[in-house]
């Protein structure tokens, strides 16, 4: 089917017979909006809505799986916006059909659908996604080049590597390691994060600490989130002293604190020194 250049222009506020007048959408409204094909912006919103409100009914899943195969909603760059949103929504939901469908779209022609599929497979947490994710790293750093005329690399490496780390893909270590030297900082730090998750080796945690001193604020923020996600306890003081918002530093330290508390003996009456130190740092950032 040809792209419809007018489809994005219909930002109609009319919600049709499928929505109630008070602007509150029901699950049935959302599914009906996703199934109709006249208004692509309604479909796009409905896909997001079902994920946001975690609607895992069989009807919602079926409608999202259909949207994941959509051919009608096309972006000016040739991409598939509805597929992207359907892939993101499915990551948050629970149904045995989801993981195989997302795996199939790791080979989608649209880069952003592949990226959403990788991120959603990370959230689904199923090890069956590991071999197909690993396959996307074939060709190594040499193949991970910018696509001419596009603002991205050949594959969504950051999402793929982070997913492999979260899925505890020990078999991916040798494939991920070379990406520590990638020229794109976000890819490099994704590799450091995954390598730390997979090996628990200090050197990788230290690379994330180094990212806290990057001149780019966005990278410092993303290092705060990475350190919180992996719970690297030795980063505590560096996090507290980083040049970034206190709110983000508190979230990051909370990640470390949860890691420290989980490592403690559940029968212990007193808190560990690590936990107490983390809370002292957090108190100072309030």
């Amino acid at each position: 089917m040809l792209p419809n250049p007018d489809s994005k222009a219909t930002t109609s506020s009319s919600v049709g017979e499928n929505s109630s007048d008070d602007g509150v959408m029901s699950v049935a409204d959302a599914i009906a909006n996703l199934q109709q094909t006249a208004d692509t912006s309604l479909r796009y919103y409905a896909a997001w809505w079902l994920g946001k409100f975690r609607v895992s009914t069989p009807e919602a899943i079926a409608a999202l799986l259909t949207a994941l195969e959509d051919e009608s909603d096309r972006a000016p760059d040739g991409g598939y916006p509805l597929r992207r949103n359907a892939a993101r929504a499915l990551g948050k939901l629970d149904d045995p059909r989801i993981v195989p469908a997302l795996i199939a779209h790791l080979e989608d022609p649209d880069f952003y659908v592949r990226e959403a599929a990788a991120q959603s497979l990370e959230m689904q947490g199923r090890s069956q996604a590991i071999p197909p994710l690993l396959k996307l790293l074939e060709g190594g750093v040499e193949a991970a080049q910018p696509v001419p005329g596009k603002p991205h690399l050949t594959e969504p490496y950051e999402a793929i590597i982070e997913a492999l780390g979260t899925l505890n893909a020990i078999e991916a270590i040798t494939a991920i390691e070379p990406f520590l030297g990638h020229s794109v900082a976000k890819v490099k730090y994704a590799a450091a994060r995954a390598m730390y998750q997979l090996t628990q080796k200090d050197e990788y945690g230290q690379q994330l600490i180094a990212a806290l001193r990057d001149p780019n604020l966005q990278l410092r923020r993303s290092a705060l989130m990475d350190l919180g996600a992996v719970g690297y306890l030795k980063a505590a003081d560096a996090i507290a002293g980083a040049f970034a918002e206190n709110s983000l530093k508190l979230i990051s330290l909370k990640g470390l604190l949860e890691q420290a508390l989980n490592a403690e003996n559940p029968d212990a009456v007193t808190l560990s020194e690590d936990s107490i130190h983390l809370m002292q740092l957090m108190d100072g950032l309030l």
């Binding site: 040049f243 007193t270 108190d283 309030l286």
Partner: protein, 202 residues
């Protein structure tokens, strides 16, 4: 007039690092004439400069309080959070009403958490016994409410505030301990449960 070149440097700084450096120099002068400029900097959306400005205002202490209360920004929540943080650290009881209101109902969670922490550590030595009793009652009631804030970090700050209040206000100690024990067992967030437990440890 000795600080006017330093104030000028702040006003003329044309990059984030230069602004931070200029504010640091102005703060280090510890001169009351710097107060209005230091407060202005809180609204510049520059965390480095704001940290330096808060530091300067805290060093100046109670002399900065009237201007902080007067210039508090109703529209910029970033600036409001920094101002509340400065008031909280100075601990001057003249900030009581501002901090109570902020902890209870500011829409920005960064403001609520700064105020909740500060309420626990006001400088009681400045008040008469009657004033202390009235203030501690208000603080106790507001912080008990704030323990139910939807944001974990605000509940965390309320615990820090209640812990400090309990050390100063014997009258409320057992009720605070009861509340902390509930939070230590039932709060949905591990970090909040752990902070309650820490507050309860001898």
């Amino acid at each position: 007039m000795t600080v006017s070149p330093l104030i000028q440097a702040v006003e003329q700084a044309d990059s984030a690092p230069r602004l931070t450096a200029a504010v640091g120099a102005l703060a280090a002068a510890k001169d009351a004439d710097a107060i209005p400029t230091l407060i202005q900097v809180l609204g510049y959306n520059n965390p480095g400069a704001a940290v330096a400005a808060v530091e300067g205002l805290v060093q100046l202490g109670e002399v900065a309080v009237p201007k902080l209360l007067e210039q508090i920004d109703g529209y910029n929540y970033g600036a409001r959070a920094w101002a509340n943080r400065a008031l909280a650290r100075i601990g001057d009881p003249r900030a009581l009403n501002t901090l109570l209101e902020a902890a209870r109902s500011d829409f920005a969670l960064s403001v609520r958490r700064a105020a909740a922490k500060g309420l626990g550590s006001l400088d009681w030595s400045k008040l008469s016994e009657d004033e202390i009793n009235t203030a501690q009652k208000q603080i106790f009631e507001v912080l008990m409410q704030v323990c139910e804030d939807p944001e974990w970090v605000v509940r965390y700050a309320a615990i820090v505030g209640l812990e400090a209040l309990g050390q100063n206000a014997e009258e409320y100690r057992s009720r605070i301990e009861n509340r902390l024990q509930q939070l230590a067992q039932k709060d949905a967030e591990m970090a909040v449960r752990a902070r309650s437990q820490l507050a309860l440890s001898p």
